[in-house]
């Protein structure tokens, strides 16, 4: 029995471990950046933290609630998962671009304000469209566009300031996430959700979150 067969045989348990691992990494990212956010009150950092807060919630909602509370209908869990994932992607992109939108200094909430309300509306619309049409494609396409732009911005930041070593890792992380969403789309449309491909997507996803966590640990340990 090879490793893939073992994994597939225990997939329900592994889904919970996977969800817990990503949620814990996200929680750690939010906690680890709390002090520097409170000291700096930097808006980019605030939106960056929001992104990982929503990623953490999304994985808790999808896998933990889905497995621990199987009576909860998946037609409820999936739209919530999609809404949170799409929202997290928007916040991550906005953390890189917020300066261009002249955010008002008087905005007290970073979760809902005049600039980010559009993210909530778009996330709700996309999640509802996917639910109504019974696909995941709107989520996949939105994430591909988001991470395509995020990769371009991350590359531009890296080329402008190559002395900051993690900028290269961040660019790689954005590319990794872009590849992951393209792979997700291909798996759904061409490979009928092939389990081995989904397993590899899961591994890539964990690598993405670990890469971000690595950068945070490396910078904040100084």
């Amino acid at each position: 029995m090879d490793i893939y067969q073992i994994v597939l045989a225990n997939k329900e348990v592994l889904k919970v471990i996977y969800a817990l691992a990503i949620s814990l990494i996200c929680m750690f990212i939010v906690v680890k950046t709390d002090k520097i956010y409170k000291l700096s009150l930097h808006k980019g950092l605030r939106y960056f933290r929001n992104a990982f807060f929503f990623y953490g919630l999304a994985f808790l909602a999808r896998y933990l609630f889905g497995v621990l509370f199987p009576t909860i209908n998946y037609t409820i869990i999936f739209p919530i998962f999609e809404y949170l994932i799409i929202l997290a992607g928007f916040f991550l992109l906005y953390s890189l671009t917020w300066k261009k939108f002249n955010p008002s200094e008087k905005e007290h909430s970073s979760l809902i304000n005049s600039n980010v309300i559009i993210f909530h509306i778009m996330a709700i619309i996309l999640a509802l469209l996917d639910t109504l049409l019974g696909t995941f494609n709107f989520m996949f396409y939105s994430q591909i566009i988001i991470f395509f732009y995020a990769s371009l911005i991350a590359y531009s930041n890296y080329s402008k300031n190559s002395k900051r070593k993690f900028l290269k890792f961040y660019f790689v992380a954005m590319l990794l996430e872009l590849s992951l969403w393209v792979l997700n789309l291909l798996t759904a449309t061409l490979f009928s959700f092939n389990r081995l491909l989904l397993l590899n997507i899961g591994i890539l996803n964990i690598i993405f979150f670990l890469l971000i966590l690595y950068g945070i640990m490396k910078i904040t340990k100084k």
């Binding site: 000291l39 930097h42 980019g44 960056f48 930041n157 890296y158 900051r164 961040y170 945070i216 100084k222």
Partner: protein, 91 residues
Amino acid sequence: MTAKKRERLEVIKDIIYTINKNHEIKPTRLLYASNLSPQMFKEYINELIEKKFIQLEVDEKEKKFFSLTKKGRDFLQEYKMIESFIENFGL
């Protein structure tokens, strides 16, 4: 050559650094040292007082001066790390 516009965080660091260097400083001297317009200076100072980074005190001769709070001193110590974080993640 025009000087690069300072980022908000850099302005805050400069104000807090100046107060720390002088231990305590009169508002007019801090305004000159900050290199900001009076309007901008007022906005930054109000924010820093509101967020408890600095405090405005009055001595026995009724003279006003600014001093740092513990949060302000913490900010100065952590500034390099904050700057490094923001630049490394391109935020």
